[in-house]
Symmetry: C2
Subunit: 321 residues, 2 copies
């Protein structure tokens, strides 16, 4: 029988930081224990066809949603897939790549389910997709910040001018509103990076983050973790609202204080964190520097992931043998 | 709920006539009622890699057998697939193509399951594959004839010289024997074209055919059909052996006699044949001429297909609503 993996779904608009967070989670858990899949490869049309049809990749009609759902289901059931590949440089499709069955990983004589991280524009779009995840995250940065990030990436990595990127963002806005942003409602964790007063784009490590932990999550003992740090107002605030607990972390925290908080989460993870490499968390995609809010965001997602994986194993939802 | 299609598996060595027979069946049933899939597209390695590794495409190790099995299963369950594409001209892979869900087709107010024709070198290789077909065919032409056909095609369509094709056939012989030929044992119908004495390759319509109808097939009423024609020794012979009924059709039959036999099968198919277009059967792949043994082979496969589809519908094995 195939092993069933733990399924983590990460959605967000273009430039919202999906790849950064996904890669950070994979580094934190160990890349040999994770399978990272970008579901933006399931486009129906290449760039030229999209232009002719006047359709954006944000539109589900522009994607083979049925195949995306099928592949997410197959991975959730522990099967391999042959994944399509969209080439962002050429705007066309490359040959598909083989993704091996997400088999469990042995750790000290025990089989631990592999983590499949699915990230993309429409990861949480349909009920068929959402039903397959054990944990869901939506990345919801302040819109100005998302634009800054998207311009930075598309100019550096995809060969566009800043003006082209901005025009593209504007053209996509109706579809962002119609198809991408509503997915926020379906996430267990919503992550919002935002700028502090007097923010300097050259120093992104000063960004603040607000993390909404929905009550769709089981009440785990994170509040206790937080409590220890709660007195330090400059570091962190936790507020319980009707639909979520809101966690605020400011970027101007001192390294000492952030590291204390990291250590507390670490200790709560216990033996599950023994393979975590703390030096790997919190690096920005451009490796320009460390961000404690980013590091703590990745740690908190990893914390829920590990706890919920334990729950799923206990309840027999993850078959590993 | 998805519609389950009728699954026809056709295997045989390179050049054995798989595409000719598959295309003939599809034309006979109506192309809008069939989905044709070549499972030779599931190669793991491109031509250059195969050369470096010293592996032939006939070797299951050279193919993503798990994905092939998965896609055959998905089609059998009525789902769409994103099928890989191997390009015989370039020897590399093209972008995958979308194959829609094989939905049933409405005919006079009744839903008839679509026919999915799967043809390829390894179609019948594994139990996982074989378990998905309702009818299986193995094409087993006389070896000299297969070589003649393969040289003809690979020179005309794939840009090789005759010497290259012969060298390739020789290099593949151990794998043909190890992996391809044993599949014959698993077919319901084995079709062997062979040369009459004094055969002239310029006139392939004179070829004889011997069709083994295994007793794995339910005893349908073909023997009755045959009986009407049985007296004409020059046309046809039916012999019952331990494992199969052996049907011999010679190429030197007169058009009148062949057409009489065609008409008898036609009548036995009754209303199921109303969409069959008799002018489309029996054309060679190069459209050089008609072959009555080929035409009758296609008709006999179609006959079993239609009869077994009716049986499967009656028994509730094919869900069409």
């Amino acid at each position: 029988m195939p092993h069933r993996p733990f399924m983590l779904g990460i959605a967000g608009d273009s430039g919202a930081g999906k790849t950064t967070i996904s890669a950070g989670i994979a580094r934190l858990l160990g890349e040999e224990r994770t399978t990272n899949i970008c579901v933006d490869d399931y486009h129906k049309y290449d760039r030229k066809q999209r232009k002719e049809l006047g359709i954006t990749p944000l539109n589900p009609e522009c994607n083979y949603m049925d195949i995306m759902e099928q592949h997410v289901r197959l991975l959730a059931e522990g099967e391999p897939i042959l994944k399509p590949v969209y080439n962002h440089s050429t705007g066309t499709f490359d040959p598909p790549v083989y993704v091996p069955a997400p088999r469990a990983v042995e750790e000290e004589g025990r089989l631990i389910p592999r983590v499949v991280v699915l990230e993309g524009l429409l990861t949480l779009f349909s009920p068929a997709l959402r039903s397959r995840y054990h944990l869901t995250v939506y990345l919801d940065p302040e819109e100005e910040l998302r634009r800054e990030w998207k311009v930075k990436r598309d100019v550096a990595k995809r060969g566009y001018t800043p003006e082209e990127v901005i025009a593209d963002i504007e053209r996509r806005m109706p579809d962002s509103r119609a198809f991408i942003w509503p997915q926020k409602e379906h996430a267990d964790i919503v992550v919002r990076f935002y700028r502090p007063p007097g923010y300097n784009p050259e120093n992104p490590s000063t960004l603040n983050v607000r993390i909404a932990l929905k009550h769709t999550l089981p009440r785990l003992d994170l509040s206790e973790v937080l409590h220890s740090a709660y007195e330090d107002e400059a570091l962190i605030r936790l507020e319980t609202r009707r639909e979520a607990d809101i966690l605020d972390i400011t970027g101007n925290v001192t390294p000492d204080r952030a590291q204390t908080f990291e250590r507390i989460i670490w200790e709560h993870l216990g033996h599950h964190a023994q393979h975590f490499d703390p030096s790997l968390v919190g690096t920005f995609w451009d490796k320009a520097g460390q961000s404690y809010p980013l590091a703590l965001t990745q740690l908190i997602i990893a914390y829920y992931l590990v706890k919920m994986r334990e729950l799923a194993i206990e309840r027999g939802h993850l078959r590993v043998a």
